[in-house]
Symmetry: C2
Subunit: 454 residues, 2 copies
């Protein structure tokens, strides 16, 4: 019986690791260029750090770790007799796997507040785990790549994050990416001016579906949730929300003239968009999208979502926003946070589909030295170490196997050069190098070989 791995998890082959590493390195280098500093937190946290932070659904999807030793001894008989999984879980499990990077970051900031200089710009690239039903593109173990600033409510942070998205997707040569932007205050303002502030969540959840169910669908859903016809009529401008960004801003100002909060949101958006335009973008486009909601109960200011190029049906490849009270859950008040995330797995699929990984991304060994026996091997090894001194990846085939077997190995591993060194070469202090693609052979000394392969 062949061994297997748990569903929703993955093995990564050398080529896959190389491609993932290419994306991660690109993101990481831009994070650092923008002044973000890395932290790492443990894979598991105390359960009470995580539980209750992601809603009821989230609590269910958190992987719990069983206590060590005779864990049932700690369960009193009355509780045990209930055989109630939820109740007993808290008695036999005290730790749980990280569900995202935001809550551990908030915990980190509070725990280490005296060592941190604020504003603190941190990035974190680590796996998270969710007991979600696995499906295409959704895994139980996956990486998150997050950058956040905590301790500054300056809108320059939002501007920097849009520029950061631009820098990363430019470096990945991925054009056609759109950064959609909205502001929670605008959503609140609209709810306010149409008289549906008490139905803010229902209102935004419905509005968020405009893409999928269309204008009539949204209106019907709102009606079903008890939002009045009159209120819905007042928001008609949102359904006719066309024009360039400046026109959209003016329309919003008109719609929201009676809501201070709404106008504040428009003002913030306007500043961000103006400054981004002043600084100019290389690759990504920004799009003011008032239907964008994304975890509304979380964000308090800017909301970002990154759409993959239209030619690939991939949906969101990143997102983020501002949350005014990031660390309040752990007792540190008045710490505004704003951050973005990159969806590694989806970016991988997009680059794969558009054939955007560099040809050299998975290059490994450049030259294989054929093994003709012990004496020849030592001669080859000396050459190999000289090449490695020049950072050329060179290997000896480990056994004096049949020539054909060794050549097949080089071929299958896509090693572009092989070196053959027998008695003749050893006497002349040379190496014969064969280019696999052309079959061409040349004899040269080690310095020439090193230059040839560089």
């Amino acid at each position: 019986m062949k061994p297997s791995i748990p569903k929703g998890t993955r093995d990564f082959s050398p080529v896959e690791v190389a491609k993932r590493q290419y994306i991660i390195n690109t993101i990481q280098s831009k994070f650092e260029l923008f002044g973000f500093q890395p932290i790492e937190t443990p894979s598991f946290e105390n359960s009470d750090t995580l539980m209750g932070k992601y809603g009821e659904e989230g609590d269910r999807l958190i992987f719990k770790i069983l206590n060590s030793g005779d864990f049932l001894k700690k369960v009193d008989d009355t509780t045990y007799s209930t055989k109630d999984s939820v109740q007993i879980t808290s008695k036999i499990s005290e730790k749980a796997l990280r569900y995202d990077l935001t809550v551990p970051f908030a915990r980190y900031v509070v725990q280490h507040q005296n060592e941190i200089e604020f504003p603190f710009k941190r990035y974190q690239i680590q796996p998270v785990w969710r007991a979600d039903r696995p499906q295409k593109g959704r895994f139980r173990e996956f990486y998150q790549c997050d950058a956040d600033v905590v301790g500054s409510d300056s809108l320059w942070q939002e501007i920097e994050f849009i520029k950061l998205y631009d820098a990363v997707f430019s470096a990945l040569n991925l054009s056609g990416v759109t950064v959609k932007i909205n502001n929670r205050k605008i959503l609140s303002g609209i709810a306010e001016v149409i008289g549906a502030s008490d139905k803010l969540i229902d209102f935004t959840v419905a509005l968020d579906k405009l893409d999928k169910i269309g204008e009539d669908g949204v209106k019907n859903e709102m009606l079903g949730k008890g939002i009045t016809e009159e209120a819905i009529a007042k928001m008609q401008p949102l359904f006719d929300f066309s024009g360039d960004t400046n026109e959209k801003i003016e329309k919003l100002k008109a719609l929201l003239h009676a809501s201070n909060e709404g106008l504040k949101g428009v003002e913030e958006l306007q500043f961000i968009i103006q400054m981004v335009n002043e600084l100019s973008l290389t690759t990504v486009a920004i799009d003011l999208d008032v239907t964008l909601a994304r975890g509304l109960n979380y964000y308090t200011g800017a909301i970002f979502e990154v759409a993959a190029p239209q030619e690939v049906a991939m949906g969101s490849i990143g997102g983020g926003g501002r949350y005014d009270d990031l660390t309040g859950i752990f007792g540190l008040k008045n710490m505004s946070g704003v951050g973005i995330s990159f969806g590694l797995d989806r970016i991988y699929l997009v680059l794969e589909e558009l054939n955007l990984f560099p040809d050299t991304v998975a290059d490994t060994t450049k030259v294989l030295f054929i093994n003709f026996g012990e004496k020849e091997s030592l001669y080859c090894m000396k050459g190999i170490y000289q090449l490695r001194n020049s950072d050329i990846v060179a290997e000896l085939y480990p056994d004096a196997a049949k020539m054909k077997k060794q050549m097949t190995y080089a071929n299958r591993r896509n090693i572009p050069y092989v070196v053959l060194a027998g008695t003749k070469e050893m006497n002349e202090n040379t190496f014969t190098v064969k280019t696999m693609e052309t079959g061409e052979q040349q004899e040269m000394n080690i310095e020439q070989l090193s230059k040839y392969l560089s």
Copy 2:
């Protein structure tokens, strides 16, 4: 109440991440230079992949993950009524956190055997988890850095691994490292010639303690385990085991002349040592240490252990060896494996103690632009993006806070330069740069600034 993390786990601050990354990058680049390819495996495996592979003690130390949902429903009432933690564990947990990288690697090789070209040289740098009692330098989550070759019994692999240790410790500028080397066949051979083959484990466990309990201690322990005085007398040469490597080899040959297996081990060692000497080592020394056992029930050929420089009391910072049947546990026979491991945490402590981290290892932001207000900020931001185009890490202080606060921030973060740009500079299209260490100020245009900071 301040939040905390589970015992035995760690948060890593930006400086700590940078230092760890420096070590990991060094190891990784040498792995790749030697032709090793990366793989990654899931953090958790099916329990039956891990259980029973590390002995009884290991089984206890494996972190088990609780099944999702109503996990108790699957436990029949009879089993449930036993309240037996061990029995019930297998009913409520099907997954477990990786305990090392070797067993998952063996599982990977068997599962993907048809996609792999053998010999397969893989490296893997990932965290592992053990429910061990935490103590100084021992954690419940820690990284392993492993390189292994599977599918080749060539001794050139052993030679390459010693050279690989040498390459890594040279790159880390860590001198004084010793690679101790032994061979399981020599241990078996000694047990054979003294007539204690049936007590091989007791014999080697005792011998392994020579460093700690001395000659008399070892002899007493052996006597206690039922090894005869006569047998112990025969191994006296091991206690007088001095001289250079060649002399040691000759002594072993004499001692083991009656054991084919022992002589085979000596021969292997001799070849390895000769070839390593031919290829020469830069930093590490090799030391033939016949008392070295390290998980004897596992290794079948070469055994390595890496000792930190004598001036730091750190013990082993790496180790490895050959195991003839790596993948047999998963049903793929006759696959010889050989590998080594680097102990990241201990290497970190050694470099810290010897002050060997490069001064620049945790460098982040090079220049902070002081924020004088909105107009000035935009002017600064344009400069910042030009610097970033030249890969200079530049940041704007996000708010127009008091000068003193902004300068203090730069100081505390060890940012070496600040830029001040007010009306005068904006009119002249310049920036005033201040070197924090000297207080010196200079006014220059952006191209000059970029050069100045590069």
